[in-house]
Structures are given as C-alpha cells and as structure tokens.
C-alpha cells in the first residue's frame, strides 16, 4: 500500500504539482508553438508522452548499466541522454509519418523539436534521483515519472490549446497579438497551477 501511495505521489507530483511546463517552465517551445489547435496539441502531447517514457527508461538503463559502472556518469550523462532522445525522436518521426500523415503535417517542425525539448531532457535528469536505489525500482519510477511528466505536459497543452483557439477571435491589443498573449496566458495558467502546491 505504501509503495503504491509513493508511486502515486510521484506521478501526481510530476504531472501537476511540479508540472514541467507550468511549474518548471521546461518545454515552452512546443507549448507555445503547437497549441494553436487542440488536435495538434493532443498529437504533440501524446508524442511527448511516448518519447518521454521511452527516453526515461532508456536513459536510466544506460546510466545505470553503462555510465555508472564505467564511472562516466558525470562526464557523459547529458551527451548520451541527448543522443538517446534524438534517436528516439527520429524513430517516432518516421513512425508518425508512415502511420498518420495528417498528424505529421500538423506537428510539422515541432516533432524534431522534441529532440531539443528540454522537458524530455529535464525528466531524464530528474530520474537520476533514483540512481541510488535498486535498478528495477529506479526503472519503474523513471517510467512513472516519464509518463507522469508527459501527461502533465499533455494536460497543459490541452488547456492551453482550448484557450488559444479562442484567442484567435479576440480583439487583442496590437502589441499582444500572437506570442505575447500566449505567454501572458501561460503565466495566468501557471498561477492557477500554484493551487496544487504542497499536494501529495
């Protein structure tokens, strides 16, 4: 029971309390870039969940099984992690292009952007907190953190896209049109997410 609660808290925490976008301000590029339409925001969100979960597991395994035994964890973790994430994104891009061309068109240049999506790298770095435990537990926690972080990202994307579809129809002040108002909205959303502070 307690382990279950611990996992749940981990998941809840990374998804809501320390939401990657709205509390840690990671991954703002796709957050601002791909939230103009809900359909592409959802697609992007799921792509990120997928990449984030895989990357979490893969990087944690490589970290624990290759880098740590070799004593290279300090020197190479970011380089190797980026390598892993970049390869994964390439892979996902190919799959999406084959399986769903409309989604591929909608995500456009943003799919490759997951490569440099600091949210993904951020989660893989957060996972290093589990390095001292057992490999199995750490891998599970990394996976949970990856999925949770991705879901939190997806939630933020969906909420934001709902608002941005309406933004297009508003009589905005000239200076606020486009990205500025998107950031103001993000700030307001981040304020709202403060409500989760201290939960779990």
């Amino acid at each position: 029971m307690d382990t279950f609660i611990e996992y749940f808290r981990l998941f809840f925490s990374v998804a809501l309390v320390s939401n990657l976008v709205l509390a840690k301000f990671l991954g703002l590029c796709p957050f601002i870039g791909v939230t103009k339409k809900t359909s592409s925001a959802v697609g992007m969100g799921f792509a990120v969940i997928f990449v984030m979960a895989l990357a979490s597991v893969a990087t944690f395994a490589i970290y624990k099984l290759v880098l740590m035994p070799l004593g290279l964890e300090k020197a190479l973790n970011i380089v190797v992690f980026i390598l892993v994430i970049a390869s994964l994104v390439q892979f996902v891009e190919m799959v999406v292009q084959k399986v769903s061309p409309p989604l591929y068109r909608a995500l456009g240049i943003y799919l490759p952007l997951i490569t440099t999506n600091c949210a993904v790298l951020g989660v893989t770095q957060l996972n290093l907190a589990f390095r001292d435990g057992s490999f199995g537990a750490g891998l599970l926690k990394s996976a949970i953190q990856g999925v949770g972080g991705g879901l939190g990202f997806l939630l933020a994307m969906i909420l934001m896209s709902g608002m941005r579809e309406r933004l297009d129809t508003l009589p905005l002040p000239k200076a606020m049109k486009g990205v500025p108002i998107a950031f103001v909205t993000t700030a307001c959303l981040a304020l709202a997410f403060l409500g989760f502070t201290g939960m779990a």
Binding site: I158, A187, C188, L191, A192, L194, F196, M199
Partner: protein, 370 residues
C-alpha cells in the same frame, strides 16, 4: 366585409430620413452596465458585514482596490484609444472582489498592485471585458499570494470579535488575531479535531461572520443574500454555485485524509460509525472560508464561466472537487481561488464539449443507435 370603401384623399405623410437596421428592432432592457451594477449591489451585504467584523479597515482596502481597478481600466482603454467604459461597473466588480479575498489589515499597496495586475494583465491584455479567460480578481489574488505571501497568507488574522459589536467602526476596541477556521482545520483535517474547532468558532459564528478571514468571505449569510439577489435578477444561473457547493460537501463527506500514517475521515469514518461527525465536518467546510464568495460571485463570473447549462454544472462540479482536494490534501488552507482559476482555464474546452443538441438533430450517440 365587401362594402366598397369610398375613395378618399388622405393627408400625405412627411417622413424624414428613416433609420434602417436588421431585425430584431427591439432590445431587452438589460445591458452590461445593469448586470455589473447589480453584482455590485449584491456584494453590498457582504461589504456591510465586513465593516462590522473588521472595522474601517475593510472599507479602506475595498475603496483602494476599486479605485485602482477603475483607474487602471480607464488608463488601459485610453492607451488603446478606445471608448472608456468604466461606467459599466465591471472594473468596480473586479476591485470589490479582489478586496474581498484580502485580509483587512494589508498595506495600502497590496490591493493597489493586485488591482493593477488584475485589470491590466488578466483583463485588458486580452482585449477588455468579455475577452479574458481568467477571473481578473482571482489572478490578482494569486499574484499577490505569490508576490506578498507574508501579507496575504497570515498565520493569524485580525478581526473584531462579537463582543465589540457595540462599537461599529472598531475605534477603541482591541482587535484580536486568530487563525482562520480553515487554517485550524489544515492542522487537524479529520473529524477528531472538529470538536475543538467548534468550541473556538461555532457554525453560527461562521454564518454570521464572527470569525477571522478575508474581508468578503466571513459572513456566509450576507453572501447567500447577495447570491439570491443575483439569481433573482438573472445575473447568475443557480446551477453553477449549487453544483459547486454540493460537490464540496459530498467530497469532504467521502474523501479520507491521512493523519499520522493512517487514513481517517471520509468514507473511512462513515464506515466506522462516524457519519454524524463527518456530516458536521462537511457542513463546516461549506460555511468556512471563501466557498460562498467563490461559488456565488467568482465562479459565476459570466465572462469566465461556461455558457451552456450543462457546462456550468461541469464547471461547478470540477471547481468543487478541486476546492475539496486543495483543502484536504494541498499546501494551502483554502483552495477556492485556485480551483476557480483552474476551471477557468478549462472553460473553452468545457464550452466546446457541452454544446447543446441542435433542434431537429439527434445527439451523436442516439444517431449511432438509430
């Protein structure tokens, strides 16, 4: 009817240039200004109660907030070279609501900064009234929570206890500082701590407002009165506050909390025969804190709440659930502000998925079945 009417010359009609517009050629008497000023009127009972409880301080903070809100709105509209529409009362409503979620003894600049953020960032940046996603007053409040936490989240809140009622404005009466009911509950969330709490503030105190808290939230009775004024004048729909308040009650009734490593309260207590105490706790949660203020005056803000009846219920249930979650499990004693802001963010999506069925068509499910 077939009798031949005789031919007759009628005096010609002299018509000037006529005004032509598309039908309908009538408009209902209600305007935006009328609605907003009705809201201000409905906030008056709570304001009176506030002055009663906190003395002249409450009026000071409220006036500051209103003045700053109106000035900011006028300045923004002047900068945008638009028609200045502060006379419609919407900035006044924002100012009053912002003051109502602040303690009575904050420094002068707190309501002023809050109002400026509320109007300039949360409202005018989006294009003014009707265009904002988030309730401006609540954004102001959340910003202040972030910026001036020491002033806004006090451990002890000042108020004039009931025995000082003889002196209305509080001069010569010593105000006392105490923790708010919800802050006490935060320390002991289960039903066990309830008895001690009841000794400190009874339900009657909560209803009348004889408790510490923020300016506008203390008197549940005055807020209910204001809510009834709004419902009677069709400024709000009763569904949303009803759904929100009911959801908080049910959630508090059923959700267990963790105390000392074990679950207690909620359905756990009810299963163990503590139904009565749990009921009392739920009731207490309704009247304590800003639930009534939020449910009647903030969640129902037309601009930031769903437009369809079904959407309003979804919004109310969601906000109620979030209030209960934050109060029971979160880091803050009160969650109304954040709960409503979070639902504000979901509003466009709620609107999209609760569109009514068009006359003469079938719902998708029915259409599939058919």
């Amino acid at each position: 009817m077939s009798e031949a009417p005789e031919k007759r010359e009628a005096a010609p009609v002299e018509l000037g240039t006529l005004v032509v517009s598309s039908s309908p050629h009538l408009r209902a008497p209600d305007s935006i200004g009328q609605i907003m000023w009705t809201v201000v009127l409905a906030l008056l009972p709570a304001f009176c109660a506030a002055v009663y409880v906190f003395g002249i301080d409450a009026a000071r903070v409220t006036l500051l907030a209103v003045a700053a809100a109106v000035a900011t709105e006028a300045a923004c509209q002047a900068l945008r070279r638009e028609r200045v529409t502060v006379s419609d009362g919407s900035a006044v409503v924002t100012g009053v609501l912002l003051a109502f979620v602040l303690p009575a003894d904050v420094s002068w600049y707190v309501p002023v900064v809050g109002s400026i953020v509320a109007i300039a960032v949360a409202k005018q940046a989006f294009g003014g009234l009707g265009c904002n996603f988030f309730n401006p007053a609540l954004i102001g409040r959340a910003f202040l929570q972030f910026a001036f936490a020491d002033q806004v989240t006090l451990a002890k809140w000042r108020f004039l206890p009931a025995h000082a009622f003889s002196d209305l404005l509080g001069s010569g009466v010593d105000a006392v500082s105490q923790a708010t009911p919800l802050a006490v509950l935060k320390g002991a969330p289960g039903p066990a701590g309830l008895d001690a709490l009841y000794r400190q503030y009874g339900l009657g105190d909560l209803v009348l407002g004889n408790v510490p808290g923020s300016i506008g939230e203390v008197s549940a009775f005055a807020l209910l009165l204001g809510g009834l004024i709004l419902v009677a004048n069709r400024c709000i729909n009763w569904r949303l506050p009803a759904a929100m308040i009911a959801t908080v009650a049910i959630s508090v009734l059923l959700l267990p909390v963790r105390e000392g490593g074990a679950f207690t309260g909620g359905f756990v207590s009810i299963l163990h025969g503590g139904a009565l105490a749990q009921g009392k706790l739920a009731l207490y949660h309704l009247f304590a804190g800003g639930l009534f203020l939020g449910a009647f005056f903030m969640a129902t803000d037309m601009v930031t709440s769903p437009i369809t009846a079904r959407g309003q219920i979804v919004f109310g249930v969601g906000a109620g659930l979030l209030v209960a979650l934050i109060r029971l499990y979160g880091g803050y004693p009160e969650g109304v502000c954040y709960a409503i802001l979070l639902m504000n963010a979901a509003r466009p999506l709620i609107d999209r998925y609760t569109r009514p069925r068009v006359f003469g068509t079938k719902r998708r499910k029915e259409a599939e079945r058919a």
